[in-house]
Each structure stands twice: as structure tokens, then as C-alpha cells.
């Protein structure tokens, strides 16, 4: 019997073998990697701003945080001054903005009435800007005092802030260019990235807060609920408080600070959840217990973990040179009851006057 005859009689089987081999060989050949280019509907939800820059201005290439644009003025002595574009997704009060820069310039905290003399309205193009000029107190070391020229534009529920900070002479010299620059701007703020100064307040406040006497070595002030009592003192703690109930359950609340980031968020969260017998998490599952939370106007974290019997709630704030931890730990059901009070406590934290933290 010849091979050809054999194939003829068992065609189906050999067809199957051949096609399987072909399929395998075809798919085994890996696709060659190449650079791809494609177009999609815009997914970018950050700010987009376009402008026409005066000839003697330069752009700072790095953008970070809320800045949508950053510039300097080219001078013979090198780049000078800071000009920025900061979009806020929500309406921000002029007083808040003035206080952001006023403290840097040595002004006391503004109120609406004390700020009123500083605020003007200026029409540039078809838009009305709020216009504030804050001059710093004279520094003998400087030939010209620092000046913050702040232009605020409010449109469609958004606020755009254009700060121009330089010495007074430079601000005066470049004010025309600054006006032309503002007139040339096209502005679109971030879709989903609100820049929020503070987190929303808790819905239900269970107890009336009382201002607490801030510890001497704390740069913060805060309010504590009336149900909280002084707790055990320790040299490690800036403040120590406790809550107990009729069943003998207790919560320990502490405020501590450490230099540096003491291992960072992950290490500290794992340490705390370990104290209530929960297994450690890795970086990618950290969000199981952590959410972003503003503390005293800074970006911080709120940690919430419940073990079988105990729970831990905490606020963590990592500043440039130090870390602050506001922690509640103890009986789970009591912690659940006190959660709103604890969040209210975190919201109440603000810098003690004259001790702005960065």
C-alpha cells in the first residue's frame, strides 16, 4: 500500500493533524513588538490651560500638585519671581486664598472685613478678576519688599488663581505683561480632581465639642468631644485621651509625632492593624484600610480597620520633616460609636497661630 493511497483513505484524520499543526505554528509565531500610535476620546481629567507668554517670561517645566502652569521672569541676574496657574474645581473664598499667601507675607489672619480694603475688581478681556496686592513687611536685607499679586477668576463654579510673587519692583515692572498674559489664557480645569482644602464634615455630630487646651509643644489646636477624658500620659505622646462606657469598654486616643516618615504609611498601617490581630497588607491592598483625608489643610490619610474585638481609627499626616499620628484604638463597638466624633476631632485640627507647618 502506497503512502498516497493511505492518505486518500484517511483524509479526514490527516486533515485534522495538518490543520492542528498549522494552527499551532501560526500562533506560536509571536507578534513583533512595535511602537503603537492611536487616538482616543480624551480621558485626561487634569487641567488644561493654554496661554501666550510674554517674550521675557520663561516656563518652569515641572508641574506638580495643583499647578497647571508655572513661570519665571528672565532677568540679567537669572530667572526671578514665581507666577503660577492654580485651578480649583470648587469655589474658594477670597479670604482663604488671601490667608494662604498672607501668612507668608507676615499678615495676621484675614477676615472678610479686614480683607475688604485689599480687594479690587479688574476687567481683563471679557472676564472680571478679583485683584489683591499683598506687600510683605520691609526686610532690611532686601532692597525691595516681597509682593504677592493675586488674580482670581471665577467661572462655571470653578476658581482660577494666578499668583505672581516677586519683589515689589519686579511686580510693578511686569504688571502689564501679567495683565496681557491673563487676557491670553484659555482655561479648563480638572474634571475629577478637586483641590479641596478640607474634607467634608461628618453628617451627625453626636456630642458637642469643647476647645481643648492645646499641649504646649503641639503646633496644632483641636476640639475634643465632651465624652473624651484625659488619658494616660507618656513621654512619647503629645496628647493622650480616653473614652469609656458603662460596660468597661475603653478607647485609647493618642497624638504622637516623629521625625521623618518612620517607615511611611504602609509600615505604620501594618503596625496598627497588627495591634488588633489583622494580617499585614502590601502596598497594593493598602486602600482596603486607607483613604485620602485632609488634616489641617494638608493631604493626609484616614485609616479605619476593624478586628474581631478591637478597632483602630487613625489620621496620619506626613510632613516634610516629621510625621503626625492621631490614633484611636480599643473596643470595636465603642470605636464604631465614636467614629463620627473622631472624624470631627480630625477636622478640627488646625495650625496654632504663628506655627504654620509645611
Amino acid at each position: 500500500m502506497s503512502v498516497i493511497t493511505y492518505f486518500k483513505y484517511h483524509r479526514a484524520f490527516f486533515k485534522f493533524l495538518l490543520s492542528s499543526t498549522l494552527v499551532l505554528s501560526f500562533f506560536s509565531c509571536t507578534e513583533e513588538a512595535s511602537i503603537q500610535s492611536y487616538s482616543i476620546p480624551s480621558e485626561y481629567d487634569g487641567p488644561i490651560v493654554t496661554w501666550k507668554l510674554p517674550d521675557n517670561w520663561g516656563e518652569n517645566p515641572d508641574l506638580s500638585g495643583p499647578m497647571a502652569g508655572s513661570f519665571h521672569i528672565k532677568t540679567q541676574e537669572g530667572p526671578q519671581g514665581r507666577i503660577g496657574v492654580m485651578p480649583f474645581r470648587e469655589q474658594v473664598s477670597t479670604v482663604d486664598v488671601a490667608n494662604m499667601f498672607g501668612r507668608e507675607m507676615g499678615y495676621p489672619t484675614f477676615t472678610e472685613s479686614t480683607l475688604a480694603p485689599f480687594v479690587q475688581k479688574k476687567e481683563i478681556g471679557n472676564r472680571i478678576f478679583e485683584w489683591l496686592v499683598l506687600n510683605a513687611k520691609k526686610d532690611p536685607k532686601l532692597s525691595s519688599p516681597r509682593t504677592a499679586l493675586l488674580a482670581l477668576l471665577r467661572q462655571e463654579g470653578e476658581t482660577w488663581l494666578f499668583p505672581f510673587i516677586a519683589d515689589q519692583k519686579l511686580v510693578l515692572k511686569e504688571s502689564e505683561n501679567f495683565i496681557q498674559f491673563l487676557g491670553s489664557c484659555t482655561l479648563r480645569s480638572a474634571k475629577n480632581k478637586p483641590i479641596i482644602a478640607r474634607s467634608p464634615s461628618p453628617k451627625n455630630r453626636t456630642t458637642k465639642p469643647t476647645p481643648s487646651t492645646p499641649p504646649r509643644d503641639s503646633p496644632w489646636i483641636w476640639e475634643i468631644p465632651t465624652t473624651w477624658k484625659d488619658g494616660k500620659t507618656s513621654s512619647m505622646r503629645i496628647a493622650s485621651l480616653k473614652v469609656d462606657d458603662q460596660n468597661g469598654s475603653e478607647l485609647d486616643i493618642s497624638v504622637t509625632t516623629f521625625p521623618g516618615d518612620v517607615g511611611g504609611l504602609l509600615a505604620n498601617v501594618n503596625r496598627w492593624i497588627g495591634q488588633i490581630d489583622l494580617s499585614p497588607v502590601n502596598q497594593s491592598s493598602l486602600e482596603k484600610y486607607c483613604t485620602p483625608f485632609a488634616i489641617a489643610g494638608n493631604s493626609g490619610h484616614f485609616i479605619e480597620a476593624y478586628g474581631e474585638n478591637d478597632a483602630v481609627l487613625a489620621g496620619a499626616l506626613f510632613l516634610e520633616k516629621e510625621s503626625w499620628f492621631f490614633k484611636l484604638i480599643g473596643n470595636r463597638s465603642l470605636a464604631e460609636k465614636e467614629k463620627d466624633n473622631f472624624i470631627m476631632f480630625l477636622h478640627s485640627i488646625s495650625p496654632k497661630s504663628g506655627s504654620e507647618k509645611k
Binding site: M1, L24, F27, I35, S42, L63, K193, L265, S284, E287
Partner: protein
Amino acid sequence: MNENKKKNTLGQRRKDFNFLIPFASLRLTITLLSLSMILIFVATLEQVRIGIRGALAEYFESFYGIWYYPEKFWGSEYLQDIPLPIPGGYLLGGLLIINLTAAYIVRFQWTLKKAGIQLIHLGIILLLIGQLTTQAIQEESRMQINKGEKSNFIERFHGVELALRDVTDPAKEQVITVPQKILENGGTLTDKSLPFTIKVHHFGVNCDFDSVDPNKPKSKIVEFVNRGVGKSANLNIIEKEEDFSSDGANFGYLVLELLDQGKSLGQWLTIAHPAGNEVWTKLSPKLADLSFQSIRHKGKLWGITLRQQREYLPFAIELLDIENEYYQGTEIPFNFESDINLHLEGNQTRRALVYMNTPLRHGGLTFYQYQMNDAANYSVFQVINNPSWLVPYIACILVSIGMLWQFSFHLVKFLRKNSKSPANA
């Protein structure tokens, strides 16, 4: 006719294909099956050490693997340093296909009486070929959707890409992606749609990263990074081996330099988060920009990011609601359920429920319920693209028919014989 029958006999086939006789040996079948059992045993042990993906890559998706005697076993002090070669899945699977095919030709009788045996073996051959095909072409990805939102792309579990996005136009964005294979090769990359040249300085599939004190020394990988988050957060990188374990998180990293007509624009560090770059924003404001490091260049706003390799789909999935249930008193999931709307072309929609073992199949993709976070209101689907997914089903049907045929044949024969026996007469 008789001539044809003669040509079809086993003896004739053995004569024509005598070179196949050694491959059709039953001993070879038994040996291969025994070795397969050893392979499965070794891979199961190794799975504890290197994870499912590691064991698959080392032992099943290869021709051979090297095994070291486990430290915790008896006599490990003498045996643990001896490398033991173990035949891999490709070798055993390939040999089994040859063995079964050869047996089909030179050992089996092609009669109606033995048709069941032939079907069973045909099914097994198909199963083996199907598995090899699956390993060669299957792609696994993930799709994460927040409740109330839509998604139209999937991201590979393994493999990253550098994405450069021109987001200047508010309506649409231009995306240029460089796949991992090219990044691994390093060098200088250009593309006609890019206004700058990319120079790859360092690329790795996994790393440890940390924000360090500016006075402390950093690794050589990041010593020249002078732009973006790498600089602002003063990030240090320590290279790590790829983690194959099931809960292993691989943070791919890339240090790249952008050049415009030979002039350096700076060096950036970018890191891919294995759970998607949106997580950076939640982790820390310092690291938030790792999801989009912006560069303004020649009047355009560009963003660079290293992300899990992404594929856009011609349809979108909207997550309407999620529900998860646990076994009482435990954290062991009982059921995860996603209520979704499938948005097709032409404004057509299809409502579906995706839950454990009940995936959604659409457009050649299968969406399995994979993860869920009730607190953060999102659901994650494991998305499988396997064009040969039907092969195992067909193979199993063939084996079932073959077994049914074979058993029925013998049963009928037995019953006939029984009815003719003197006792029943």
C-alpha cells in the same frame, strides 16, 4: 473493495509506517504518564515557593525544569544542592501527542468494534493540542470599573508599556505606546508621531521604591533623574526579581531621558502600579503624578506614564451595582456579583449579571468576576482571550462518546451472549 479492506488492515499499516512503531509503544505511554505525575507533584511543591505563575512558567510552559530537593524534607542537608532536571510540560505533552498519534496509526484496529477506543484517543490528542494552543495564544487581562462608571479598556496582568499622551485637545488625545519588549532592549527610540526622542536608561519588571532623605545616597538607577516625581519626591529604586507568587505585586520601573534634536529635556523616573496607576493618587499626594507626569513641549501638554499594557475594546462596560457576600463569621467570599450594562456600537445596550463561575462572554473575550471592593465601590474582572476555549469541550465530548460507544458495545455483546447461554434457554 476487498483490496481496499486489505490495505486498511493493521498489519499493512504497521508495514507501511514501521518507523512509527517505537513511538507507539505502550511502555512509552506509561512512562510519559508516570513522568507527568512526577511533574505535577514537583510543580505542586514548587507552587508554594514560587507561586502558581512561577510554577507554570518553570515546569509546564517549558521543555524541562530544574528542581532542588525541598529544604524541609528528610535528608535535605545532603540532597538540596543537587539540581534535578524534570521533563517539562511542552516535552511531555509533545511526546504524548506523537505517542498517541503513532498508536492511532500502527497499533489500533480501525474497526467499528474499536471505534470507541479511537474516539477516546482522538479526544485526548485534541485535549493536548488544545492545551498547547491555549498556552501559546491565551491572554489574561483585568478590567477595573468604579460603580456608576464605564470602562472600555483592559490591562494585562503581566507586561507594562510606556505611554506618552498628548492631551492638549480637550476632545481627543493622541497616545503613543512603547511595549515592554522594546523597553527591555533599551537604546534610543524614535517615532514619527513623537516630537522627541526617548532614551531608555534603565528598565526593570519589579522594584522596591522609597522616598529618601535628600542627603542620603541613592542607587545608580536614579542618580541622574532630574525631572518629575522622581526628583520632587526624591525617590530611590532598588531592583527586584519578578515576583511570581499569587499575591506578588510587581512594580515595573523605567528611567528615561527625552531629547529634542539632541538636546536633553531631562531624565524622568516612572513606576507602574500593578493595581493600576489610579492607585498612586490614593497612596500619596507625593506619588500622585506617577499616573501622569506632565511635560509642556512646543505648546502641547504631554503626559508620560509607565502602565500595565492596555488594550482598548470596541465596546464598554458600565458597572451599575455590586454585591458581595461572605460565609457567616468569616472573610471567605461566598459570592461576588456585578450588575453591568454592556454598551455596544449604535447605542445598543445589554444588561448582564457577572458572578462567580458565571462569566460574561462578548467579542471573543470572557469576563470573570475577579475582585471586588465594596468599600471603595469598584469591581475587577479577569478578562481571558482564548480563541481555543471550545477545544477542551469538544475533546471531552469525543471522549464521552467514545466511552459510551465502547461500554455500550461490550454491554450489548454481553447481553446477547447471556441471552443465548443454555441457562436462559
